[in-house]
Symmetry: C2
Subunit: 198 residues, 2 copies
Amino acid sequence: MAGKVEARKAALREKLVEAAEIRIARDGAGALRARDLAQDAGCALGAIYNAYDDLTAIIMAVNGRTFQHLGAAVEASVADADHEPPTQRLILMSNAYLRFAAENTNLWRALFDLQMTAEGPVPDWYLQALEGLFANIARPVAELFPGKGAEETGLMVRALFSSVHGIVLLGLERRISGVPPEQIETMIAQVLGQIGPG
Amino acid sequence: MAGKVEARKAALREKLVEAAEIRIARDGAGALRARDLAQDAGCALGAIYNAYDDLTAIIMAVNGRTFQHLGAAVEASVADADHEPPTQRLILMSNAYLRFAAENTNLWRALFDLQMTAEGPVPDWYLQALEGLFANIARPVAELFPGKGAEETGLMVRALFSSVHGIVLLGLERRISGVPPEQIETMIAQVLGQIGPG
DNA sequence: TCAGTATTTTGAACGTGGTTCAAATTGAAG
DNA sequence: CTTCAATTTGAACCACGTTCAAAATACTGA
C-alpha cells in the first residue's frame, strides 16, 4: 500500500483544480476563495496547502488546462485548411481565439491577469504553451513573407498575436469598447486582411 | 468662513490623489494600502472615506490624471507632423503611447486593470477620454481610407488602437514576450506599416 | 493483533487590509 | 460662554490567505 497516500493526494489535487476551474469560470480568478474551494473539494481549509503551495499555484494549474484547451481550439481551426491562403488561415485562428475567449472569458482572462500580479518568473511550461501558439502563427507568416529572416518573422508573429489579443481583450470589455461582439471579427479581418508582402 | 470646510475637504482630496499617484507609480495599484495613504496624506484612516467612497474611487481619480497625461503625450507626438503621411503619424502616436506606457507602466496599467475588477459602469469621463484618443487616430485613418464609411472607419480606429495596445501590453510584460523593449517599436511599425488602401 | 512511531489532516488562530461607526473634536450661532 | 451640529478620529469589525500545534490516521515490528 505504498501508493495509497500518493493517490489520495493526487485525487485531492485533481478535485481542487476542478473546483477552482468551475469557480474561476463562473466568477473570475479574483473571486476565488480558499474557504469556498475547501468546501467544494470536501476537504479542510488547511488541506489546500498540503496539495498546493498557495492559491496562486491552483490558478496556475487551472491555467495549464486552459492553455491546453485554447491551443487545441486554435489548432483545430486550421486543421484542414491547408488549401486556404495564409492570410485566411491567420483569420481562422484569430476567430478561434476570439471564440474561445468569448466563451471562456474568465478562464482566458486568468491566463494573462495572473502575470501582472505575481512577481516571480513565469513557469517554463507557460512559455512553452505560448511558443506552441506562436508556432501555429509562424507557418502562415513564413508563407506570407518568404524573404524575411527568422528574426524578423519571429517579431511579426508576436506582433500579430499581440494585435489580435488586444482586439479581443478590449473588444470583450464591452463597457470600454462599446463595440458589439459580432463586430470583433470584423476588426480582426480589417487588420489581418492588410498583412502581406509589398 | 463658509467655504473653509469645503476648502479643507478639497485639499485633503488633492493630497490623497497625489499620494496615491506616487504610490501607484512606484508599486502598482494593487499595492495601494489605505493605511499608507492616510500616513502619506497626514490624515486619519477614516478620513479617507470622508473624501472618497473607497480606495477604488481614489484610483479612478488617479486614472483621470493619467488619462490627461497620456492624451497630451499622444497629441504632442503629432502636433507638428501634419506634413507626414498618415501611416507615419499613426506610428508616431503609437510610439508615444509605447513611451508613455514604458515610462509610467504602473499608472498606465491601472488605467485598464481597474475595469476588469470593478463591476459597475465605466464613468462617463473615462469613455470620453478614450474617445479623445480615438479622435486623434481617426484623422490619419480617414486619410488612408477616404472611401470608407464612418462606421467602418470607426471600427478600424478601434482595431488599430487595440492592436497597438496589445503589442505594448504584452511587449512590456518582458517575462511573457521575451522581446527586448527596443524591439516593440519594430513590431508596431511592422503592423502599422501594412495599413493602407488596396 | 497491538503498541509505538511517523505521517497526514484538521480547523482554530494569526496577520493583513478595507471599511465602519460611536465617541471626541471642531466649528457655527446665539 | 454655551449649545448644538458637523466633522474627524482611530479602535474595532469582518473577510481572507496562510500557518501550525494538536488530533487523526497510517505504517511497522513483535
